[in-house]
Amino acid sequence: MLRFKALLSLIAVMTIAIMLTGTVQAQNVYRIGLNVPITGGGADAGKREVIGAQVAVNEINAKGGIGGAKLEMIVTDTGSNPHDAVNAVRKLAGDDKVLAIVGPHYSGVAESTFPLGNRIGIVQVAVASSKPGVAAANRPFAFRNTLTEDKIAVAVVEAVKKRYNPKRIALIVDIKDAVARAIGTKVFPGVLKKADLNVINAKKPVTFQTGDAQFTAQVTKLKALNPDAIGLGALGPDALNIITEARRQGMKQPFFGTAPLIEGNIPEKGGSAVVGTIAGSIWSTQLNDSRSRAFIKSYKELAKTLHPGKFTANPDYYPVNSYDAVYMIVDAIKAKHIKPGMENLATKRIAIKDHFSDMKSFNGIASDGFNKVGDGKKNVHVFEIKDKAWKLIK
C-alpha cells in the first residue's frame, strides 16, 4: 500500500514539476526562444550558439532594450533529436509564450519542428540546416539563416580552377548525411560541369558513411582513379580523416569542399596533410571588418562564464548565425511596432513572419536576409589552408 501511494505521488510530483516549468508571465518584456542542442551530438555547436545569441541579447539590453522594455531569451535543449526539440517548441510557444524562436540546429530536427511551427504559427530561424528544400517545404513560418551549398560551391570551384587548373576531378560522397550527400551528388557535379571540369566518377562516386572509422577502402579506390583534384561531399571530421588517409597512401592531389569543411578545425588538426585544401564559408574568424572583430571580442568575453570550456571558447559561424537571428527578430519587432507583453500573441507572431518574408536584405555580421523560399542570403568567402589556418583567398 505504501509502495502504491509512493508511486502515485511520484507520478503526481513529476507531472506537476513539468507543468510548473512554464515561466512566469511578464508585462513589460519581449520574450524570444532559443532552441538548440545542449546535449547529444550537437552539444558543442549548440553551446556556442547560446553564447552568440546571448551576446546579442546583452548588447540590446545594455542599450535599454527595445523601446525601454527588456529582451528576454529562454533557452531550451533540443537534445540533438526531434522528440526533445518538438517538446521544446511546444513549451516555448505554448507555455513560455515567446514571440519567435531561434533554432533549431540540424536539418533532421528542423524537419519536425518546422511543420510544427507552421501549425502553431510561430517563426523559427534555424541556425544550422543545409539539407536542400527544408525551408521551401515549410512556408511561411520556417526560415534558415544558413546559406545553401550551391552558391558556396560555385565560388570554391572557381578558386580551385584558378589555383590548380585540374583536368580530372574525382568525387567522394557521404551517403548517410543529407547535407554532405546533396553536396556530393546534386551540387558539385552540376557546378563542376558548368566550370568545364571533367568529373571522372560523377555517376558512381566513391561513397562512405558519416563517422566511418576508417577510409582505407575509399582512398584506395580514389587513388586508382588517378584524379588531379578531389571534391569532398563530406562533413569536416570525415574530410579530415579522408585527407589524412590519402596522404598515408601516398596521394598528393589537393582536396576541396564547401561549408561543412570549415567546421572541425581541419587546419589545426590536419598538419601538413591538409595544406592546400580549399573550401568556402559564410564567415570565419579571419575576417577583418569591425563588426566581426567586435563580435569575436564580446563572444570570447562571455564564453568565459557562460558554458565555459575548450570547445566553446572560440566562435565559428554558428554563433554568428544565432547572433544575427536575434537581431533580425528585434528588427521585426521594431519595424512592425510590436508592443511588449503577452497579449495578442498570434497577431504579433504573424507580424514577425510577414517581416521575415519581406526581409530581402539585412545588415547582419554574416546575414543578408532571406530568399523567397526562406533560405539565407549571405556572402561567400573562399579559403585555402596555409600555416595551420584557413587563409582568405581574395
Binding site: H83, R119, A137
Partner: protein, 277 residues
C-alpha cells in the same frame, strides 16, 4: 491543457504502446530487441498511405499495423527455434536490417525521409492507448492469457497440457508487431516527418527497459515504466547539459534498487483488494 503538456502526453502514449509491444512478447518467455523495426514499418507504410495516396489517417494506421503484424508473424516463425542470447541478437539484427532496408527504399524517401505527415491528435493517442490496454486486459483474463503464462513458465509442460506452443509464440510476435506498428504510425504523424534514423536500436531497447523497470509480470508494469521514464527526461530539463547523464544513471540505480521492477501481480492484487475491484 498546454500544448507542451499535450505533446509530452502524446509521446508518453506512444511510449506506452511501444512498451506494450515489448511486453506481450516477453509474456511468452521470448524477447524482442527489434521492435523499432515494426515501428518503422508502421510509420513508413502509414506515411506512404496518407501522404502519397491521401488515405485518412485512422485507416492508414490500421492497415500499416496489419502489415507490421504480418512481418511480425513472419519473424516469429524462424525465431521459434532460437533461445536466449541468440533470440536477443536475432531480433536486434532484424531491427537493424529493417532500418537499413528503409535507407535504401526510395518510395518512402530513402535516407532523406518523408515529409508532409500530420494528423496525430491527443484524442487519437489516448483512444489507441485505452483500446490496446483493454485488449491486453482481456487477453490477460482469457484462456489465451493463461496459455501465454504457461508457455512463459514451462514450454514443455504447456505443450504437454495441450497448448499449441508454437502458435502462442508466433501470435505474441504478431500482436507485438501490430501494437508497435500503431505506435510507429502515430509517432510519425506526430513528428510530422519520418526517416530511418528515427528507428534505432536504442528505441527497441528503451521499450524493453520500460517493461523491465515497470515490472514485467503484468502489462500495467509496462505502462508504469513508460509513464515514469517519459516524464523523467522532461523533468530533468533543469539539469541542462547533465540531463541525459543523470537519466542514464537514474535508470541504472533504479534497476539495482528494484531488480524485478516496480509492479508485480501480487502487488496489484493487494491493491485491487483494498479498493474492492
Amino acid at each position: 491543457m498546454s500544448i507542451y503538456m499535450e505533446g509530452i502526453l502524446m509521446q508518453m502514449g506512444i511510449n506506452i504502446l511501444m512498451a506494450y509491444s515489448a511486453f506481450i512478447i516477453l509474456a511468452t518467455g521470448q524477447l524482442s530487441l527489434g521492435n523499432a523495426g515494426f515501428m518503422a514499418i508502421g510509420a513508413f507504410c502509414s506515411g506512404y498511405l496518407t501522404v502519397r495516396l491521401g488515405i485518412p489517417l485512422p485507416i492508414a494506421l490500421i492497415l500499416s499495423a496489419l502489415l507490421s503484424s504480418l512481418v511480425g508473424v513472419a519473424l516469429g516463425i524462424p525465431v521459434l527455434r532460437i533461445r536466449g542470447f541468440f533470440l536477443v541478437l536475432g531480433t536486434l539484427g532484424f531491427g537493424e536490417t529493417v532500418r537499413a532496408f528503409f535507407i535504401n527504399f526510395e518510395p518512402t524517401g530513402g535516407a532523406y525521409g518523408m515529409r508532409g505527415l500530420f494528423g496525430t491528435t491527443f484524442e487519437m493517442v489516448l483512444l489507441t492507448v485505452v483500446a490496446v490496454t483493454i485488449g491486453l486486459w482481456r487477453i490477460e483474463q482469457s484462456r489465451i492469457g493463461r496459455a501465454f503464462d504457461a508457455v512463459a513458465a514451462d514450454e514443455d509442460a504447456a505443450q504437454g497440457a495441450g497448448v499449441n506452443v508454437r502458435a502462442v509464440k508466433v501470435m505474441a510476435f504478431g500482436i507485438g508487431a501490430f501494437i508497435a506498428g500503431l505506435a510507429g504510425g502515430l509517432s510519425a504523424h506526430h513528428l510530422l516527418y519520418v526517416e530511418p534514423g528515427h528507428f534505432s536500436f536504442l528505441v527497441s531497447a528503451m521499450a524493453v527497459l520500460f517493461v523491465i523497470l515497470g515490472g514485467m509480470q503484468t502489462f500495467w508494469g509496462a505502462m508504469l515504466g513508460a509513464v515514469i521514464f517519459s516524464l523523467l527526461p522532461e523533468m530533468l530539463r533543469f539539469m541542462e547539459d547533465w540531463r541525459l547523464s543523470v537519466y542514464g544513471a537514474a535508470l541504472i540505480i533504479l534497476m539495482i534498487l528494484r531488480p524485478n521492477g516496480l509492479l508485480s501481480r501480487v502487488f496489484l492484487r493487494n491493491i485491487a483488494m483494498k479498493f474492492q475491484f
